[in-house]
Point group: C3
Chain length 348, copies 3
Amino acid sequence: MQYLRNCWYVACLSGELGQSMLARTICEQPLAFFRSTDGAPAALTDACSHRLAPLSAGCLKDGEIMCRYHGLRFGRDGRCTHNPHGPATASLAVRSWPSAERHDLVWVWLGDPDAADPAQIPDLSFIDTTPPHAKFTGYLETAANFELCTDNILDLTHTDYLHPDTLGGGGLTRARGQVTTQGDTVAIRWENPAEVAPPALDREFIRQGELSDTVTQVEWVAPAILRLSVDVAPLCPDNGDEIRTATMHIMTPESPMRTHYFVVSTRNFRADDADYNAGLAAFINGIFLTDDKPMLEAQQARMGTADLWACNPAMLAIDAASVQARRVLQRLIAAEQHQPENADSGTK
Amino acid sequence: MQYLRNCWYVACLSGELGQSMLARTICEQPLAFFRSTDGAPAALTDACSHRLAPLSAGCLKDGEIMCRYHGLRFGRDGRCTHNPHGPATASLAVRSWPSAERHDLVWVWLGDPDAADPAQIPDLSFIDTTPPHAKFTGYLETAANFELCTDNILDLTHTDYLHPDTLGGGGLTRARGQVTTQGDTVAIRWENPAEVAPPALDREFIRQGELSDTVTQVEWVAPAILRLSVDVAPLCPDNGDEIRTATMHIMTPESPMRTHYFVVSTRNFRADDADYNAGLAAFINGIFLTDDKPMLEAQQARMGTADLWACNPAMLAIDAASVQARRVLQRLIAAEQHQPENADSGTK
Amino acid sequence: MQYLRNCWYVACLSGELGQSMLARTICEQPLAFFRSTDGAPAALTDACSHRLAPLSAGCLKDGEIMCRYHGLRFGRDGRCTHNPHGPATASLAVRSWPSAERHDLVWVWLGDPDAADPAQIPDLSFIDTTPPHAKFTGYLETAANFELCTDNILDLTHTDYLHPDTLGGGGLTRARGQVTTQGDTVAIRWENPAEVAPPALDREFIRQGELSDTVTQVEWVAPAILRLSVDVAPLCPDNGDEIRTATMHIMTPESPMRTHYFVVSTRNFRADDADYNAGLAAFINGIFLTDDKPMLEAQQARMGTADLWACNPAMLAIDAASVQARRVLQRLIAAEQHQPENADSGTK
């Protein structure tokens, strides 16, 4: 499969990368993640240059990895810093991959290393400014192509059928989402004026079942970084303050049919309640686990190894955003593959 | 693999299809089975036309399926009866498959729908006329090609070695079965005059170990529908009445190396004894589970993905019936594939 | 994959082959092993000539195998001795494979039967002369190519990193092994004069942590038969006698990515202590199970289906012996494939 290379992929939640190494395959590339002595994340190809033993099975000491098979050591730049059996030559280096930590997430760059600029990481600073108990994270490995996972969020009408008693309720189907494509960004917006909010949010108000104005929005940027916000303003001001949630849904391909699915969810209410936060995390992550993941995996199972278009699906109006996002991604991948390796050498 | 298409396949036992849907793959085609409001069986391709979500994971209401992913609804004819997101156009239809219920079995037709005629379902009305406690059913998924399962019944000498203490006993090996091929039917008949009946039947007489005349017959029709009858008449009339059993062994291909194996067994004795019937069902189905299924699967494992002939087996006289049946089936498949799509358009 | 054919492979430990049959696939050939009436091992292709049922699922009686599916019987030479359904013709024979029992091991020959000479089985008579409680065996199925397992023993520096607290300790890395290739034999020798012995051996002396002269040697012969000896002589004679261990590590390919790994270990100390022997067997086999096997399998997983050279590994000095052994084996396989089927017919 062809992946977009010159972009930042989320490799793991910050909390997943502690004192020990983390093995994770991204876009079919096995990687070993670890923290340098300064705490900054590092990523090396997860196979020793000598005998391909996984470095992630080794020891981490003083910010270096020692391979557990024959004791070679590697620094965060991939250079072999010690070879117990002879000189630590340059040819013993393993590839290192640019990585960075931003917004409670560890990111990795799989393309041209010279082009890796952390400034290109999408600005998710709303996560940083959210109090600790007003946000939670989730991670789920899903046996489905990452674009199926993307489609799932870009068409939230599915909540009305897959999660009718929690996240859905019929509103998104009624609202007829409006799609906007601007440059490489695809957005969709559903407006539900003067309706009862979705069950999982309605219950947060003082009186339930009363009317609110609800706006739901999803913004997608490549390769698969989606911000889903739901804002609910009750019509009667004495029924509580406006509720706002913003949740990142980020899908990182593991392989053509497996996806690392990351969630970072923030909200503006009950921001200091650690117990409530923990309960909400379990509730929301549980919905993904028991509803979305099985549906995405069943869909993939029906498709086998074919891509979506080869399955000749009947497209509906609700697919407009996901089709746009798929097109943008295809365009970006095509552009990347046709660009000269080094533009200024073209005249030589 | 090439399957016979214009024929009725058994999809499930009637008892397997209740209030909820049943997902079953037949000849590599995933199907969702359900009952219409009138109780009649229906079968749709088990993938929504929109996004390929399995319809069998959806809801069944008023004889219609609602896809659990985006709420599209489908009638028993496959037409989309409701699209919450726009018009329910003809292009949203999923394929429906002719189905029928006969003889405690649900049948499905995978070929040309216009040619689907339930009158072509083999007449197994002896099942209908058997009292409820004089018959039992069985279902077993077997990781072996369906023709290996067919061969197993068309050569019952295997009972003398695989089931020596129950169904076998040496008689079928001694009898040298006589094979008859008439049109598309292959039959084999073993006669055992004045011998002790097989252990599982001998014990039904008043005095065990005495002589009987036993006739065992198997009749095969395509694709893999076999009727196995055993009739045992004791030589001394005071040793009990003649015992007759007739058991359908029906193999429906799931895929080249997996088979849905159905059993419907009837008998003429102890016809009102529900406990005996339940015990006999457990006993006979247990034999298939612990003896036949492992042997068929081991055979398939040795063959890998090759077909039988590619494995260059040494054929014996006992294979005559199974070789005949394989030839008839090959002939029927070849005829089906070479027939013009529309015979009367040939002069155009 | 191409295997060396004209050589003796270890099929099983003598103790694995008792009264019943043993099914084992060697070089992708499924084989049924059993003992003839005289106790000698025999090996037949593990698929009946008739219908490919595994003979190893059959019955063993009077030194003959009866297929459990249709009752054909086969002698140790593979000829069909009884066909209950007709004549036991020559065409019903299954292939028999030369086999022999030597040195607590059962061996099988996969090449030209006329060339099978048990005298070519490597002389491991040191096993035969070791008292019963001074030796133990091990068997491990490993999901890695057999040459990776060979490499693991021919480069014992891995013990310093993979087993630092037991078999290793740093000595082998310091010693810089000396490789000798003579004809078809590859040997490597590490000398550690005046050092503390490896932990697992040091603890056998009267006083631990004192200096010894240690010599570690591995001798490889094709296809993958390795003798590993460790001799430790304490500098102070009053610290105990010289300790000597000799352990066979024998790898038999099951398939390109699976290996039967056999161990037969002997020693010169505590030769009469059955409990100690059992404990040592559990300890040493446990190390292979928890350290080596996972590392070999992880290495193979990184390599996928590619061979080592296709993975472009960086070779170190410590790989010298394993590279030599791989070359000898390739040369032997190439020679075998280019030799005329029948040398004396060349002039015809």
